[in-house]
Symmetry: C2
Subunit: 491 residues, 2 copies
């Protein structure tokens, strides 16, 4: 017997590995007497203690057993389940579940891109790294012991307090700090909502087109997703089927994702009335409301209707950065304790030092200043994108209007062009998100969701020029003009 | 009209709030003409621009509308859904779902405790804070921009590489780095497993007694949890019902949680055979295997059977600290990409700077040294607990044997005593986790799960002395001796 050089670890570990391998391969069958430690030591040129260590471990793990006065024997066990099969035979593994397969269908290839025009990426190049690192250091140096353990407060109280003030001022959200639950991103918030407020097969209204992250989360929770069309006033409850009654209504009222409309007051009222009529919860996803360039942000739905069943979902992924994994829910008082307990049980809490840094970032005014800077930056980048696309715009390409957000939608002639452009972009290093990906059903109108926030002006100009050229080359000769459909998203 | 002093924000914001409030309260009904900006400015002593800002915002949000040449009017909308109800009238909110209520039943009150004898808390007082803070600083100073965005690699490659080496050496896990998926804690791993590999109402075998976190996660996923009894050899597949066939088998083979047994080789083989027979996945939760005081850790089930359907679940909550929220899955090659995509879609990835610090912590040997120190520390603390309980042990209290882990189980006479002691502990500031809490069904034997890892020697001595006294006072006079049942957990 030889010890493999490939195996890492001490000599004793390598001897143990080698013996166990021979036992599992059946070369040393059940009941076989193992050589004595003396003999093994002599033959392998190992110290006797090394050999004894290895043999003891075999006994401890049940592969060998000592018989009084007769030495060690391979255990009399049927090792078939752990026998290494000959060659490279593949064993049949149990399959994915039905819900697993359905979920994966909505996952795409999930290869992240930070190039123009990947949507949803903030200006990471403008993030105040030095300041943020300083705030982190402040709280990482002397961490209260309790922060390291299992926390169950629903988030650091200082962060909840700072956030409640900020939300009241800038989003007209009405809440006490205790109504806030800090989560590891908005996705965790959707998940808790689905777990606690819905049962499998319950219907949920989803904006069409809408946000894939929420769609996937509700799909994973087994909900029946009912697409509700969006037009230039936002989601239209009158266009939803009268039955079945939804248990949840998911909406992005400040800035519909991805089509860009702001939900009008009339629609807000209609949506609240529909929620009441159906006994549904309204889930208000306020992902990028801070970035309205020329007018103050529209007040939240949550603050509009204090007694309505509204859960406000917030994230720091857009204002700070996605890798931070911090978001929050603003819950009606009646749900606070249930959500806190379920979150602590299902997901556990953590990252209190980061939460403390974020609380300071907000309370010391850095957050508001960063938002203001980013608002200015995104406004410039949007202008830059419109300028880069000017040649195509002159020839009939249409972009959504709106002085807000982190992306625009470019409307295309047909789905063949959409597919063609996405494929060309992939080859050319330009990320183009097809609008059809945001639809649950058939996409009513083809387009591209062009994120401009994460790319600097030079990249936007470069990628924009490329897109103009590609757009021209892919125009359908049969459709020189845009189709007659109304722009569903103009603001 | 007066502006409230309670409202924060600019004067314009306060005026907007005040006007909106009167509109929502119905004091300014639909169609009412609003006073002119001049008049409002004069009456309230405000600048005209301030008033115009407020009025513009009311118009922008749809509460007021301009009529050519006639001024501003309250919008002709039925505001009933957002009308503030008189007084403190509570509105009926939609109820929790059935699965939500069931989940909450398994959540207890989820108030964290770090006192003796809270189980599952590592020695946070011994954590190398300065070293860890230094490693964090190293990676937080110059963060690659991509780390801030949406990552989709299944975790930082450097961490996966360091971890694969460590797992191979110390846990005999066989994997390439690519088979590892970094998660935000073990709970997220359970959740992905349930989502992708099971459908609602699928049966899952759960150790009885067992780990509440996994139980809750599988419950939330809608699985039928089948308790399978544990004895002194670990989970016993022969004691499970022949049908229905489980889709998952959840086990803690290295150190059964909470009863402490190590799964014997015979049982490992039986469990693997059962998994194959039923077409089930084995979920190996290896939460604290590092802390075996006198013998090397038992090799993992994953490494024992390379071709078997085993998913290895690891966590850094015990070796580092729970608030870190980092765990991982070791997946068969066939599942790697599906799990990576579903995780990126459902939970998103993040915290790459922390992952980089952890990769260094492992690769530079700090991890192994910290484990060795904690092993020594926990051994001492266990000795300390046994000594503190010596008076009661002399009078018949029984503790689980075993030179491993972070807790011991103390067996009690009856459930009344268990309840009594837990309540007395609460009053006295001693955390006593009742064993019955770890059962899905009726607890077969009452006891207390005594965590000793997180408390220092002085606290263990103090709380132990208190427990001896309380135990004596609560002994049932009818049961001076232990019941005749076999100790299910002695190793």
């Amino acid at each position: 017997m030889q010890l493999s050089d490939k195996t890492a670890g001490t000599l004793a570990r390598r001897l143990y590995d080698a013996l166990r391998e021979r036992i599992q391969a059946g070369e040393l069958g059940p009941g076989t007497r193992l050589p004595s430690s003396r003999r093994l030591a002599r033959e392998l040129g190992l110290g006797r203690n090394t050999v004894l260590d290895a043999l003891e471990r075999l006994v401890a793990e049940g592969f060998a057993e000592a018989r009084q006065g007769a030495g060690l024997f391979v255990a009399a066990l049927d090792l078939t389940p752990v026998t290494s099969p000959p060659g490279e035979a593949r064993v049949e593994l149990p399959p994915l579940s039905r819900r697993g397969r359905e979920l994966l269908e909505r996952c795409g290839d999930m290869r992240g891109s930070h190039r123009a025009f990947a949507p949803g990426i903030p200006a990471l190049d403008r993030f105040p790294h030095a300041l943020w690192a300083r705030l982190l250091r402040r709280h990482q140096r002397h961490v209260p012991t309790a922060w390291l353990g299992y926390q169950t407060q629903g988030g650091l109280p200082a962060l909840k307090a700072a956030l409640a003030d900020y939300l009241q001022l800038s989003r007209s959200v009405r809440c006490r700090p205790e109504q806030i639950l800090i989560t590891q991103g908005a996705q965790q918030g959707f998940e808790l909502i689905a777990r606690l407020l819905t049962d499998p097969n319950d219907p949920v209204w989803i904006e069409e087109p809408g946000y894939g992250g929420a769609q996937a989360c509700f799909a994973a929770a087994g909900l029946e997703r009912i697409p509700v069309p969006v037009d230039d006033q936002g989601i239209d409850p009158a266009a939803a089927p009268a039955s079945p009654s939804p248990r949840l209504i998911y909406t992005t009222p400040s800035h519909q994702y991805p089509a860009g409309a702001t939900l009008t007051l009339a629609r807000r009222l209609a949506l609240l009335a529909a929620a009441e009529r159906h006994g549904a919860w309204l889930v208000e996803d306020d992902y990028d409301s801070e970035f309205r360039y020329t007018t103050p942000p529209v007040a939240s739905l949550q603050g509009l209707a204090t007694q309505a069943p509204v859960i406000y979902v917030g994230t720091f992924s857009k204002v700070l950065y996605p890798g931070l994994r911090l978001g929050y829910l603003v819950l009606p008082e009646a749900l606070v304790d249930d959500f806190r307990r379920a979150n602590a049980r299902l997901h556990r809490e953590g990252g209190y030092a980061v939460q403390a840094a974020l609380a300071d970032f907000i309370a010391e005014g850095h957050f508001a200043r960063h938002v203001a800077r980013m608002r200015h930056c995104y406004r410039q980048r949007q202008v830059c994108l419109r300028e880069a696309l000017a040649p195509a715009l002159a020839e009939g390409l249409e972009l959504t209007r709106g002085q807000a957000g982190m992306h625009l939608v470019a409307w295309l002639d047909d789905h063949a062009q959409e597919r063609d452009l996405v494929a060309r972009g992939e080859a050319a290093g330009v990320t183009l998100a097809p609008l059809s990906r945001f639809y649950l059903g058939e996409a009513s109108r083809p387009g591209l969701v062009l994120g401009y926030a994460g790319a600097d002006e030079a990249e936007i100009a470069r990628a924009g020029a490329w897109l103009c050229q590609a757009w021209r080359e892919t125009r359908s000769p049969r459709l020189p003009q845009r189709s007659g459909q109304a722009d569903p998203t103009g603001e």
